[in-house]
Amino acid sequence: MEVLNTFLIAPFLDMADSPIFLLEVVIGGLMAGVMYSLVALGFVLIYKASGVFNYAQGAMVLFAALTLVGLMERHVPLILAIILTMAVMIGVAYLIERFMLRKLVNQAQIILFMATIGLNFVFEGTGQIAWGSNVKKLDIGIPDNSFEIGGILMSSFDLFAAVTAAILVAVLAVFFQKTAVGRALRAVADDHQAALSVGIPLKTIWVIVWSVAGFVALVAGIMWGGKAGVQFSLVLIALKALPVLILGGFESVPGAIIGGLLIGVFEKVSEVYWGPAFGGAIEGWFAYMAALVFLMFRPQGLFGEKIIERV
């Protein structure tokens, strides 16, 4: 009876007790969720365009953030540093196509996946060789102040991150759905051979996709780096994107966003209301549990394409 009380009744009584506090927790969760969405987006882009799960996405976030900080430490102004970092990411995309993807055309997905694991180490290594392995502070001039709207406490930095993510998603949605390049990307994702036969240059498309993923990694790197400092653990936030992807579906951009938001809210709400019952610190693993349970009911994710095999 007491167990039932701690897990099923008390948390909800707490919520009802102070709706404002609940709202604050939910908003805090949404803000954290936006950051997860940013990382998950990078995975989705590459998966959509090449069917490859890019294990190195987290390392790309770290690499982009390290490059940006490294440049800023050498007194390059912020805007210029961002542009230069983007140029580096495009160069990296070109190298990846030239020396990795081109050799692996028509290979099984698992081979490409293995290659991205290798890529992960290359990014981690070169990033740290070039810029050192100390924790670095990234200051992009957005203050992390708290302020109140209608009695609800919010952080200005989180708000900035949320707005940035929203703009990024809108831009990507238009890019994928409305432009000729977006159409070519979707075509390549659907069928390599057919795409080639209508004259879509596969190599160019791959460079574009990896550049866009690099751009998303840069944005995620700026946001996470600005919040928690640029350090090796940025690679690990990529792991947080996994439950997001499971929830949202691997090939859906809106799925990545909503999945991220849901995971963020789940995490915060569970930590605050159920945390004490478990003795705290459930934030770390709760998302994975949620994703696991979710998988049992909807293996294709919220927005994923349902796989129907015709027999």
Partner: protein, 263 residues
Amino acid sequence: MSQERRIGDVILNVENVSLSFGGVKALTNISFDVREGEIRAIIGPNGAGKSSMLNCINGFYKPTEGRITFKGESHAQMETHQAASQGIARTFQNIALFRGMTTLDNVMTGRNLKMKRNFLWQALYYGPAVKEELEHREAAERVIDFLEIESIRKTVVGRLPYGLQKRVELARALAAEPDMLLLDEPMAGMNHEEKEDMCRYILDVNEEFGTTIVLIEHDMSVVMDISDRVVVLDYGEKIADGEPDDVRANQRVIDAYLGVQHD
């Protein structure tokens, strides 16, 4: 009479092409030509090397020996998207459509090479790029009208029945306004009515746009009806080449199709 006017000079010349995968010979020393405006059929029993031949022409396979000349440009090796930009479009034996996209989007990908603005412009989706997109949209709609698939313009092609998917694939190839169209079994798996429709479209395309057509087909009656000339392959070798009536009477062709005992 009208045929004399329709058919022009040699547009594609295949010379001594051989293709092997490891030790397996898929094609041995094949030569034939295709004239401008012609409907040219490649026939043969299963495994004769028909699709391999088509794949060599549009660059999916690189011939081990020999050369292929298209519109006066000779090449032993070619990239597939280069073949496309030279004016070769094709359909596939097992439909290769972009299944997650609508009919209209599929046809629009066929316009890909006609788009002049570079990738950056297109990505910006601004000003001239939008205007160009609209022009190509019009061209795509014309093809859609021509093949009478207006009613499924916005349908995701993965959900369409087989016969219609084949037609969408033809539409995508036509949208590129190709000089030469390669059709790999355009009527396979179709019922009688669908076959008749497809025949009509192929003939219409040939007549109205003067498109040269190279097609692979199993249905002999269809091939003999619509082709100007026929190449017959068997076990990767050319066993006959000529007008339908001559080919039909050729003893080696009859043997290949009916099967004879080899000593």
